[in-house]
């Protein structure tokens, strides 16, 4: 398969993300699908960040262990990533003399490792040493005199050097475009569409021209004709759009990485049009509240659901932990709140800007007591959109909290896919048993066969909610008969959901080999992308953990020679849930808990280790 990997790195706060988005945008214009992944420290300025973009003619969902072209303009990026480059490195001629000790932002442990590797190869610890190491290994190094080029740009527009400094990025992006053989025009278009300021467009365009002429077309990648519009979105944004499409009208949140960008996007786009009558638009708005903490955030959202508004919050581990009590109240009071759970490196503050899947069992068991917690997890950007819609429909149909898991890696990564995978499709809204009360009083918690009570909203009639065990009217009662029935009624909703939701909808299955790669969430992408090189494999991605698709899973796993749990955690929690529900254990494990995404090559290599070398468990570590 033709799959190319490009990476750009640099200190946080210097525009690495923007240039990666521009590069992606330009490559997409050339007709390629792509997937881009962002890595950064929990820091505002100065620490190392990088962006990897992988592209191909076919849709992609993962990054690679190696990098064809590495675009750099500082020393740290070279030190952190030179082991990954296979073909080209673009670098600043001016930093050749920089040695490891001079890069103070680099973590001492990492510097130590680099020093060791270089010295093993008989080399010193300067950038120059690295470059010669690379050249020996066949990598082509492209030195750039950024300072001189920037000066030219500054002069041309009579701007101080500090203003045009970030055009460094564009120079290296342009050089990369030229190496791959993409038209400069696409880059110019991307610049025009992504910068707002005219002057910025102009001088960046000049920088692009300068950069483009630095190198030559090496890969000679063809242009691919595109028939249908495509979009480029990250996980935060597509989740926000999905929630708005689903009818979200109240979101409360407290800032936290990597969740808050979703809320910021919703707030920026809170004024909405609704097609209420055919052809007639009505304007409405989604209220977004920055709460004082996550305790307030969850409870505001739960309160909002009682009025009939579709309401949600978005958070990650530390904030989610603070929501436990509120989620339990929502369960007890059958409030259809949606929690978008952006999972990141844990425990505690952990790796706040890295990814992880270590909170699955916490999400599944959050809050004291027994009540239905529906938990779904998305494996790629398209899924995020549809799952966001699904989450609200589930919440209202089963009148219970729904937790939608999106990992940091997907939240901050972007992919390019066909627009009609979203637009033009029916976006189903199922609001469940909503009624208009007739009398003065409404029995909110009527006991029914399927556990689901008719629901009306505050203000429509007198009704009561209570976190205490309550009777059908919502008043506190401690009697045992009511307790048995009311408890059973709540729990029955899970059985009803289990009956109503086809198990096939809760699991993604690709292939039907004898070696099962059992996963959930983001590793799906690496597995799918690896499957063309793997033999006799089958991917099973669990999308809904509660109610768990037990019967289908039993059927799918029956007689398989290997069940390999692939997860971004230590315990293989997704597999533990499988065992709890079916008694089936995985036979092997491919696990990674560094906070970095699993690469396609790691899957291929991991499966090899297991199938050929008989390893029980493979621990992955790729990615700086």
């Amino acid at each position: 398969m033709s799959r190319y990997s490009w990476m750009i790195g640099g200190a946080q706060g210097l525009g690495v993300d923007t240039s990666a988005t521009i590069f992606g945008n330009a490559v997409a214009r050339a007709g390629y699908y792509l997937y881009g992944n962002r890595e950064y420290y929990s820091n505002i300025k100065g620490r190392h960040s990088y962006f990897q973009v992988v592209f191909s003619e076919k849709p992609l969902h993962s990054i690679s262990s190696t990098v064809n072209v590495l675009a750099t303009f500082d020393a740290e990026t070279i030190f952190q990533h030179f082991t990954e480059v296979t073909d080209f490195i673009i670098y600043d001629k001016g930093v050749e003399g920089t040695n490891l000790d001079m890069v103070r932002s680099m973590e001492p442990e990492i510097a130590e490792q680099v020093r060791e590797l270089l010295s093993k190869n008989g080399l010193g610890d300067t950038v120059k040493d690295v470059i010669s190491y690379l050249e020996k290994k066949g990598v082509k190094a492209i030195p750039v005199n950024y300072l001189e080029l920037l000066k030219r740009v500054a002069d041309a527009y009579k701007l101080p050097l500090s203003v045009v400094e970030r055009a460094k990025n564009i120079i290296s992006v342009a050089a990369s475009m030229s190496i791959f053989g993409f038209k400069l025009d696409y880059l110019k278009q991307a610049i025009s569409s992504l910068f707002k300021n005219d002057l910025f467009i102009k001088f960046n365009t000049m920088a692009a021209e300068l950069g483009y002429s630095l190198t030559e077309n090496h890969y000679k990648l063809p242009e691919i004709p595109v028939s249908k519009p495509r979009i480029q979105v990250d996980g935060n944004t597509i989740s926000a759009i999905g929630k708005l499409a689903a009818g979200l009208r109240f979101q409360s949140y407290y800032p936290i990485t990597p969740a808050s960008d979703e809320s910021t996007y919703i707030e920026a786009n809170q004024n909405l049009d609704m097609i209420v009558e055919a052809g007639e638009l009505r304007k409405g708005g989604a209220v977004v509240v920055q709460a004082e903490d996550e305790l307030a955030a969850i409870n505001m959202a739960v309160g909002a659901t009682l009025t009939g508004a579709r309401a949600a919050t978005a958070t990650s581990g530390p904030g989610f932990a603070l929501m436990a009590e509120g989620i339990s109240w929502a369960g007890m009071n059958e409030a259809p709140v949606v929690i978008t759970y952006y999972m990141r490196g844990a425990p505690s503050t952990g790796l706040p800007t890295r990814s992880g899947q270590g909170d699955l069992k916490f999400a599944l068991n959050v809050g004291h007591g027994e009540f239905p917690r529906i938990v779904i997890a998305s494996g790629d950007h398209e899924e995020i959109f549809w799952d966001a819609v699904w989450a609200f429909n589930l919440a209202e149909k089963y009148q219970t909290p729904v937790i939608h898991i999106i990992e940091k890696t997907l939240a901050n990564a972007y992919s390019v896919f066909d627009e009609d995978h979203i637009l033009g499709k029916k976006i189903p809204i199922e609001r469940g048993k909503i009624v208009k009360p007739s009398g003065d009083f409404f029995r909110r918690f009527e006991i029914t066969e399927d556990g689901i009570s008719p629901r009306a909203f505050l203000g429509e009639a007198s009704m009561f909610y209570a976190g205490d065990e309550h009777n059908e009217e919502g008043h506190i009662t401690e009697g045992t008969e009511n307790r048995i029935k009311m408890y059973e009624k709540r729990m029955k909703k899970l059985e009803t959901a289990d009956k109503e939701i086809p198990e096939e909808q809760r699991v993604n299955v690709v292939g039907d080999g004898n070696i099962v790669l059992l996963t959930w969430g983001s590793p799906k992408g690496a597995i799918i992308d690896a499957m063309d090189e793997l033999k006799d494999v089958m991917m099973i991605q669990v999308k809904m953990f509660n109610p768990y698709p037990k019967n289908l899973m039993r059927k799918l796993l029956q007689g398989k020679s290997k069940i390999i749990a692939v997860e971004n955690n230590y315990e293989a929690q997704g597999a533990q849930i499988l065992t709890e529900n079916t008694g089936i254990f995985p036979t092997n494990y491919i696990l990674k808990w560094t906070g970095r995404a699993i690469t396609r090559e790691e899957i291929i290599e991991g499966v090899k280790q297991i199938v050929e070398k008989g390893e029980k468990k493979v621990v992955l570590s790729a990615g700086a």
Binding site: G24, N25, P229, I231, Q232, V233, I241, L244, A245, A246, G247, R249, F250, S252, Q270, N271, L272, D273, M274, I275, L281, R282, G284, G285, V287, V289, A291, E292, A296, A297, N299, G303, A304, T305, L306, T307, A309, A311, G326, W329, I422, I427, I429, E430, R431, G439, D440, F441, F457, L458, G459, S462, M463, F464, Y465, G467, D468, E472, H475, I476
Partner: protein, 304 residues
């Protein structure tokens, strides 16, 4: 099952909560609001049971310990046509809920917060609440209280509440009047209600209060209402100094009233012009099983 069985009011005999209950019911009646549009949101404690006990067909949301203001915020902002009253305990609202209590002041949502201030954690058997003064040993404390008390009035003022008052549970008519004013007030209103707990607080009793309480209104020059920007600073400072009065004399009545501060609803309208007409709870998000929300623009903005 019959509609609306009467709920047994299980507070202790003589509890100050009965006075608050009566005053709140009377205020709602007097204002002539449709009871089902009145949402009484409470926390956990003896005080927290109040929505169940109100003899009017209101909406009642009995939430979590300390979190009622957050629930109320979600309810009111997604349906601003509702009249939201928050009843909190002093442990509930000023202990575990202190953070929300203060931050609510920063928003000035048009709703009413009533604290049942009994100096103790009633429902958990009489531990010291944040309003019990240091050195006091109420009946159920093994030793004198070693924490200083918070001053609900001065904290509310510091926090930005635009209506700040104190009432007394056994002066039901006066309290009713305060609640009426608080509900009518445009913005976030706060009433600290001195509420004797005969079971656990044997210090701040009816007798104790009766000797000390006087009405701010008795002073004809007392006018807590801010009438102009210029007025604001002086009225606020005076309220703040008055708030420090406690001991032999305890004032009740309105300390501060200011409708010049925009409500949160008004602030939202700066961003969503038709917010009050077509608020979140009212919007029709579904038609024939499909979403009504147009997302074309949002998606197309992401085209490459």
């Amino acid at each position: 099952m019959q509609e609306h069985k009467p709920v047994f009011v299980d507070w202790c005999p003589g509890c100050g909560n009965f006075g608050i209950l009566r005053a709140e019911e009377m205020a709602i009646r007097e204002l002539g609001i449709d009871p089902k549009k009145v949402i009484v949101v409470s926390g956990i404690g003896c005080s927290g049971k109040i929505p169940h006990f109100i003899q009017l067909p209101i909406g009642g949301v009995h939430t979590l310990h300390g979190r009622s203001i957050a629930y109320a915020t979600g309810i009111k902002l997604s349906n601003p046509s509702l009249e939201v009253i928050v009843n909190i305990g002093d442990g509930d609202g000023l202990g575990i809920g202190m953070g929300h209590f203060v931050h609510a002041g920063r928003r000035n949502i048009d709703m009413t917060v009533i604290v049942h201030d009994n100096g103790v954690y009633g429902l958990t058997k009489g531990q010291a609440s944040p309003t019990l003064h240091r050195g006091l040993k109420t009946k159920s404390l093994p030793r004198p209280n070693i924490n200083d008390a918070v001053n609900p009035i001065s904290v509310a003022l510091s926090a930005g509440y635009t209506f700040v008052a104190r009432g007394y549970a056994y002066d039901v008519m006066h309290l009713k009047d305060l609640i009426v004013k608080a509900i009518k007030h445009k913005g976030l209103a706060f009433i600290d209600v001195l509420q004797p707990c005969p079971t656990y607080n044997d210090i701040n009793t009816k007798e104790w209060y009766d000797k000390r309480i006087y009405k701010l209104d008795n002073d004809p020059t007392w006018d807590p209402k801010v009438k102009s920007e210029a007025d604001q600073q002086t009225k606020f400072e005076r309220a703040m100094l008055k708030a420090l009065e406690w001991g032999d004399k305890i004032p009740i009545g309105v300390f501060y009233e200011n409708e010049l501060v925009p409500t949160f609803e008004e602030r939202i309208m700066q961003n969503i012009p038709n917010y009050l007409d077509y608020y979140p709870a009212k919007q029709e998000i579904e038609k024939n099983g499909e979403s009504t929300t147009k997302i074309d623009e949002l998606i197309k903005a992401k085209r490459v």
